[in-house]
Symmetry: C2
Subunit: 183 residues, 2 copies
Amino acid sequence: MALEHAILVSLLEQPGSGYELARRFDRSIGRFWTATHQQIYRVLRRMETDGWIAAQAVTQDGRPDKKVYSAAEAGRSALGAWLREPVEPETVRHELAVKIRAAAFEDPSALIPEVERHREGHAALLARYLTGEQRDFPDPSALDAQQQLQHVVLRGGIEYERMTLAWLDDVLATLHRLHRHAD
Amino acid sequence: MALEHAILVSLLEQPGSGYELARRFDRSIGRFWTATHQQIYRVLRRMETDGWIAAQAVTQDGRPDKKVYSAAEAGRSALGAWLREPVEPETVRHELAVKIRAAAFEDPSALIPEVERHREGHAALLARYLTGEQRDFPDPSALDAQQQLQHVVLRGGIEYERMTLAWLDDVLATLHRLHRHAD
DNA sequence: GTATACATGTAAACGGTTACATGATTCT
DNA sequence: AGAATCATGTAACCGTTTACATGTATAC
C-alpha cells in the first residue's frame, strides 16, 4: 500500500487539508497515484490516529473551516522505513490491450473510434505535461534535489505518453490494415 | 471490470480449465491483466451461472479430473457489447514514482539499489518478450487477424519495457548526480 | 437561478489479496 | 523422501469504487 506514503510525500512537500489533497491527487500526484476524496479522508483519519500526521483547525470566513494536516516525525520515519523496503512488481491492468485481443472475435474496425479517442486523451495529457515542464522546470540546471526528483518523475510521464502515442498509431495502422483486407 | 472479459478472450482463443487459465494469466495474458487462481475460479463459477461459458468435465487418468470451459454464445455477445463501451481511463498506481519523490526527504542514494533491481527486472522482461516475439511471430507478413492483434499488443509491451529501461537510466543518473553533489 | 468551488463525511458493494486446505502424481 | 506439477476450492481481510448526504459561498 502506498496511498499513505503518497499522502505523506504530498504533505511534506506542502501541508494541506483533505480537500486540497484530493485536488492534488487530481493533478500532479495523480500522475502516478490516484485516489478519491473518500479514500483520502479515511486514510487521513487513520494516519492522524497513528500519529503520522498532525492536524490544525483553520477557521476561514466566507468558506467552510478546514483541517490542515502536516507530516509528523513518526510519519517521516515511517516513510523512511518504507523507502528501504523492496518494491513489489506492479500488477498490470491494461483494459485496452484486452479489448484489442478481444477485437479478433468481433469486427476489429469497430475498435478504431475507441482507440482514436484514447489517442486524443494521451495527446492532450502529453501537451499538459510539456506545458507543466516548461512552467515548473524552465532552467534544469538550477533545481534543488526535490525539484530534480519531481522533474525526473515528470520526464517519465512524458516518455510514457510519447511511447503510448506511438503505440496507439501502431494499433490504428493494424486495425486499418485488417479492415482493408476484410473487404 | 475486465477479468471476465480477459477470461472470455482467453477461452475464445483456446478452451481450458481454471488451472490452465491461471497458468496463462501467469504468462501471456498476464502481460496486460493479472489474476490469481482464486479469482479465476470464483469468476468462472459466476460466468457459468450467467451462461457466458459452458463447462465440460474431462476425466483424466494419472491426473485429477478437470472442467474444461469454453465461451458460450451469451459470453460472446457480452464481449461484443463490452467492446463497444468506451474505455475508462486507466487508474495509475506507480509505486516507484512515489518513492522517487519521497527520496527528496531522505537520502536519495538509498534508492539506487532499489532502482537497479527494478531495472534488471525490466531488462529480463524485455528479453523474454523479444524471445517470445521471435518464436511466435517469426514472419509478420504471414499472420491472421488474431495473431496480428496479439502481435501489436506484444509490441506495446516491448516498447513499454524499452521506454521504462531508458527512464530508469535517467532516474539512476539523477540519483547519482544528487549523491555526488551531497558530498 | 443555476452551476461550480469549497469542505467533510457515511454506507454499501465490489474486487483483489493472502492464508489455509486437500489430494494425486511425477520427477529428482 | 521431498519437491514440483496438476487441480480445485473456502474464508477472512483489505482496499477501492460508487452512491448518498450536507451545507456555504461565489461566479455567471
